[in-house]
């Protein structure tokens, strides 16, 4: 069976979903490469308490100033570990359980070098995901999370400070298999964190270069305007 390496950038995840995420990843990943972006909590200790984890640490936080460079560092560390298949995931994203059955087939097939998934944003809790406007997980398409490492492809990132994507550009242009396995995203699941996340998003993108104003505003919509559906 080909090797599967999960890679992620973490920062101050101690009180979030890191333990659950690592537990879940270790059910199918052979190893996990983590770049800690100068956490100020016990995130590095948590990572190190897990088997098959390679932890790299960043002395000063870069995520908000130069995400692309941070991503490139993680990619560099990943290649040092001789990867075969690479899953680029965040510490608040979870592949649903059916992936366990599917993953051996995906890694052994030879037609697709990249696998795309649909991301479902849980909203205010972990049992319901958001479906209005651009939040609709079915209509915004698939994103590539899983790729087969190919030495001949370039490792360049677009020169964007943030929203620069988690894989090198060349990998995001591959023809990919679209998996029915859903990714559950808990980044918006904690209702107390939503306002802070909104403020960060707007601060990062004052000119609405990456997303329309209305989409940012929709983060703060009152519950009666938000449409959700139950995660089953």
């Amino acid at each position: 069976m080909p090797k599967l390496t999960a890679i992620m950038i973490v920062r101050n995840e101690g009180n979030r979903y890191l333990r659950r995420c690592l537990d879940s990843l270790l059910t199918f990943a052979d190893n996990i490469i983590i770049l800690d972006d100068a956490s100020e909590d016990d995130t590095p200790e948590i990572c190190l308490s897990y088997p098959r984890v390679n932890l790299y640490r960043q002395p000063h936080s870069m995520f908000l100033s130069n995400e692309a460079e941070l991503r490139q560092k993680l990619w560099h560390y990943t290649l040092e570990n001789k990867p075969e298949w690479i899953l680029a995931i965040d510490a608040d994203e979870f592949l649903e359980e059916s992936f366990l059955k599917e993953v051996p087939y995906l890694l052994r097939q030879s037609n697709f070098k990249a696998i795309g998934f649909r991301l479902f944003d849980c909203w205010g809790n972990e049992d319901n995901f958001r479906i209005d406007g651009l939040w609709n997980p079915w209509l915004r398409g698939f994103s590539i999370y899983l790729i087969q490492y190919q030495p001949q492809l370039e490792s360049a990132w677009p020169a964007l400070k943030f929203h620069c994507g988690r894989l090198p550009l060349a990998y995001r242009r591959l023809i990919y298999y679209e998996s029915a396995t859903r990714i559950k995203h808990l980044g918006w699941a904690n209702p107390l964190a939503i306002t802070a996340k909104y403020e960060r998003a707007v601060r990062q993108d004052p000119a609405n270069k990456y997303m329309g104003r209305e989409h940012y505003e929709s983060i703060l919509w009152p519950p009666e305007k938000i449409e959700t559906e139950r995660w089953l």
Binding site: E102, Y105, Q109, W138, L139, I175, E178, S179
Partner: protein
């Protein structure tokens, strides 16, 4: 030096070249290109697209910047292809109508089944003058190629009754199944649930609407049955609607799986539905279900009657809700019949094995490509 084969199709990728369209015909194309490579030919593929070249399974696929269709034919695509493949030795037309108006001397056309039995086809070509023009063009597209290969007898019968002068050009090479990969389970691991599988694209001509209605009726009546809808929708909205519908039903599930996982999906089923209303050849899904030892309830369409003998290895019905409900019920209530029909299906499937398909194609290819 290796001889070069050029194959013309319409959409293997979507016209932008970003997404792959994964239906039976596309799988056929991949397997067919592999067969040609095994016979030591170099193969390249052309389709509609914005001047790009992509690679899939080691085969180059070129997008030709044309998108005009008239009378359900593609003359611009055909001529663009003709001019682009001058340096190739042989040509293959992956759909009959693609061979209109021009073909190279050594060429073969393939039919994957009658597609003009779809009601929408009549709605667009319904007027007599349009229909006559379509038929005139079909006649020309049959005249060019040296051989016409059909995956079912239905296409051949239609043309022999309509344009009889091509009788001697037709070859029947039915679809295939890898009977070493698609196998019955040796040990029955299933529990007391009865699983009914719809392994098709979620489109009306495949009988999806009737099957959903039958699922609503039958899951209410029988607590032991499950309905599994396994396949892609035509677009994202259909997949959304299917997911939403399934989540509101008891014991109805919607998903799809990588091809490599499909033997397992068929093996876990008790009854397989192929309730097509039209546009059908010798369905790969039907053959794969049979090879896994499952009884098949199939629609009266296309080449399904080449695979299913009514009452022997499944049922051939007009796929109305009522007919689906009653034929599924018969099999729910008779486990012995399910088993017997499944065993017969497996036996029939062995005569459609992939090795035989290779041999039959190799014969036709060696007659034309020389």
């Amino acid at each position: 030096m290796k001889k070069k084969v050029a194959l013309l199709t319409t959409n293997f990728f979507n016209p932008k070249g970003e997404r792959i369209i994964t239906g039976g015909a596309e799988r056929y194309q991949v397997d067919f290109c592999r067969l040609l490579r095994d016979m030591d030919f170099d193969v390249e593929v052309w389709q509609m697209g914005d001047n790009w070249t992509k690679e899939f399974d080691g085969i180059k696929i070129h997008g030709l910047p044309v998108n005009k269709t008239e009378y359900q034919t593609f003359p611009e695509l055909n001529m663009g292809f003709y001019e682009n493949v001058m340096s190739f030795d042989y040509t293959l037309y992956f759909i009959l109508s693609l061979a209109y108006p021009l073909v190279r001397e050594k060429s073969i056309s393939i039919s994957h089944g009658v597609y003009w039995d779809w009601p929408g086809f009549d709605a667009t070509t319904g007027k007599l003058a349009i229909k006559q023009e379509w038929l005139r063009r079909m006649e020309l597209s049959l005249a060019g190629p040296q051989k016409l290969v059909s995956v079912d007898t239905n296409t051949i019968n239609y043309f022999n009754a309509t344009l009889p002068s091509f009788y001697n050009k037709w070859e029947y090479i039915p679809n295939y199944v890898d009977t070493d990969l698609f196998l019955p389970l040796e040990e029955d691991l299933r529990n007391d649930k009865i699983r009914i599988l719809f392994p098709r694209r979620m489109v009306p001509v495949r009988g999806i609407n009737e099957t959903m209605r039958a699922a609503e009726i039958l899951t209410k009546k029988y607590p032991s049955i499950e309905f599994h809808f396994c396949g892609r929708g035509h677009d994202d909205t259909i997949e959304m609607l299917m997911s939403q519908w399934a989540s509101k039903q008891e014991r109805c599930y919607y998903y799809w799986k990588p091809f490599e996982m499909m033997p397992e999906i068929y093996q876990m089923a008790d009854i397989v539905l192929i309730p097509s209303r039209s546009t059908e050849g010798t369905s790969l899904a039907a053959l794969e279900s049979m090879a896994c030892g499952k009884p098949v309830i199939a629609g009266l369409a296309g080449g399904l009657s080449d695979l299913i003998i009514h009452g022997y290895n499944g049922y051939l019905v007009k796929p109305s809700v009522e007919n689906l409900v009653s034929s599924i019920e018969e099999l729910i209530n008779d486990p012995k019949k399910r088993k017997l029909m499944g065993e017969r299906g497996r036996e029939i499937a062995t005569s459609f094995n992939k090795k035989t398909w290779h041999e039959r194609w190799a014969n036709v290819i060696s007659e034309v490509f020389r």
